[in-house]
Subunit: 413 residues, 2 copies
């Protein structure tokens, strides 16, 4: 799950994980929320109160753990731990669901010796069913002994947050700041809100950077706008989406603020971690065979470019054509045209990777065989230039396949 | 293509068509734009200049015939004829495409002896290819002799406007106004903008009502907002969508205005014609096996209810679940929650037809077998009550199936 970082102010740490940054331990176990024997309960713990920031789903229907986590962050902006279960989203579960989320937090506080208000709680899985709290309590009792700083323990955590994901998603980078090496790592789950009644993307970022909660929040929010908010698998937004970042500060050095000479380098590293995880979620989209990257430039503004890029990458017609390796530029310009953003219908260029198919809105003769070969690859780039301004944006998604329909037409079981 | 009209101020005319209203003739023929021998050129002609109104696609990329038709209606608000071809959308064809659309209009004007500015032109089919004008010219030369007022000729027209449609879509009703019988009829094509590079819904309404262009436009626009604008097959909007209405006035009687005692009856009849055609397009959605009707009530406003209803009916997750006959209310409330409209997460009721599945946002135990039986039907109603206001709306769509993916993954040929 790494990619080109040449010229970037940071390097990828091979085999790095959320426990690579100083001060973090992680772990996971199976407590019985999943029908399989796969891990379904996990935690990340920091040995010091970490500066914390979070981004939540914009869905008006929000799961109980989101309320609890909001309270924890509001209490002081610092977290010692993240507790996560998979197999049950604890969403649409009413007052009992809220009580269960609070009990998860207090039970882990007692078991790990951490103040409850310094614990975040996240859930993912089936909507509308109450948690089997007897199993959760038993698992929470065993969890603290499972926590360690090695990669195997970090892997157990990554496994514990997965639902329909086919692959675990983890990345770690190192960035130099003030002569010190800072690590930024992340783990995520999500392949679209797609399996029957399954929800959610969850993302967890750890770093040993010395940074305050507000500064971390500003960087996390802007990174999210350009990464997690730019992916779509099926256009649906879950009730449980949550991204939490924790900074232990144990790398030391001068506190990172916008005035720090390495502020941008750290911000780039954080954004890269989010981008790698976001693209991994898109590529792992339910039934997906390809990652689709849509690059829009020449728009009236970056915001406008983002709206057009997301409309194209979310189009069922474009997604189906990519699955069929069909160089179907007509659907791409039609999707751009319906985005509701400024556009000159006579000045649009569209390329599929290296293959120009539309120039100033007129069809260009291209080698269909070469296009077919390109579209058969596992990553497809759709490049659109509107030629009306300087706005640009990139969005990521996946193709629409028989497997998407098969999985989502299946009965809830 | 008829449905319950009990209690409505109009009756359905069995075997009625766009030529049933007084003054209209229609016809169609094959000129060679389609690879098959199916009709691909047709026209509706009125013996008098008919008061006319139209609604067009909101896509910023619009096909050449839309520009020509806008000019014709702007010239005087009256039309003598509609000329339609299928097999080629004449979209993204630049200046030559515009010249071809104008030539279609002038050629039919000469052949039929009608002023060019009283002719509307519509096209549907492949995007980005120039019309084979030699074939179009030849067909236009033969078309006037094909026009007649009988149902067979109307059927030839209905066939001529189809692309990927599996069934032709036509309806005629009779309404009493001022002691006279007024007929309102319509024909449409469209099954989503879905076949590779195929576009469009087209709708044509004829009536012998005595009504002015502005009054007709106001009724057509409001009817469209609650019918054609409330259907979605795949969320994509074509470059060619067009709905045109022509009123011959030959039923006589006092001119219909908002002050006429039968104004509402006529408006209801027009809206019913649009609704029947819109639902027929949704049911004929590419690969669809079911018509999905989403009824939202208790919203803050009708507009808000409409936005929520369209979000639900357009959700790939909901559409897949309906295909799988899965009583998946979790996806329905999640879709409602992401519509960006006011909603109380704790007061949502959701029923699937007669089966209540969610009450005040809490799961209700229901008979899964009965739900399965209901969802296996060819029409599925999703009923959502938000309990926060008096806003209500209805949206229509279809399920997401393997065939949708198969057809849309196919190469352009």
């Amino acid at each position: 799950m790494t990619q080109e970082t040449a010229g970037k102010p940071f390097t990828i740490v091979q085999d790095g994980s959320v426990t690579t940054p100083a001060g973090f331990r992680a772990g996971g176990l199976h407590c019985g929320l999943k029908k399989t024997s796969r891990n379904d309960l996990g935690a990340i713990v920091c040995e010091v109160p970490a500066a914390a920031a979070a981004v939540y789903t914009t869905n008006k229907v929000q799961a109980a753990p989101i309320k609890v986590t909001r309270e924890s962050l509001a209490a002081g902006g610092r977290l010692r731990a993240l507790l996560v279960n998979s197999g049950n989203a604890n969403a649409c579960t009413g007052k009992q669901g809220e009580a269960d989320a609070y009990e998860m937090r207090s039970a882990f506080a007692a078991a790990a010796g951490i103040p409850a208000e310094q614990i975040a709680v996240a859930s993912t899985g089936v909507i509308g069913e109450l948690l089997k709290m007897d199993r959760v309590r038993e698992g929470i009792g065993r969890l603290p002994q499972q926590l360690a700083g090695d990669d195997r323990s970090a892997n157990e955590f990554c496994q514990a947050i997965l639902t329909t994901d086919l692959v675990k998603k983890s990345i770690c980078v190192a960035v130099e700041a003030g002569g010190r090496t800072i690590h930024v790592a992340g783990a995520a789950k999500g392949s679209g809100m797609i399996h029957p009644n399954m929800a959610t993307m969850l993302g967890f970022v750890t770093t040993d950077a010395n940074i305050g909660s507000e500064a971390l929040q500003s960087l996390l929010s802007s990174a999210t706008d350009r990464t997690f908010n730019m992916i779509t698998v099926d256009g649906d937004t879950s009730t449980n989406d949550m991204l939490v970042a924790m900074a232990s500060g144990l790398a030391g050095g001068e506190e990172l603020t916008p005035l720090h000479p390495d502020w941008n380098s750290f911000g780039d590293a954080l954004r890269y971690v989010c981008e790698v995880l976001a693209k991994a979620i898109a590529r792992d989209g339910e039934g997906a065979t390809k990652l689709v990257e849509v690059r829009v430039s020449g728009a009236q503004s970056d915001r406008s470019a983002a709206a057009i890029a997301k409309t194209i990458v979310g189009s069922s017609l474009v997604k189906s054509a990519v699955f069929g390796a069909d160089a179907n530029w007509g659907r791409i310009i039609a999707a751009a045209g319906r985005a509701g953003e400024p556009l000159d219908p006579d000045s649009v260029d569209i390329s599929l990777g290296p293959i120009l198919t539309l120039k100033e809105s007129r069809p260009v003769a291209f080698d269909e065989e070469a296009a077919l070969e390109y579209l058969k690859g596992d990553t497809v780039e759709i490049i659109v230039d509107l030629h009306i301004g300087g706005g640009a944006a990139v969005a990521w998604g996946c193709d629409l396949t028989y497997d998407y329909v098969r999985i989502n037409a299946a009965y809830r079981t």
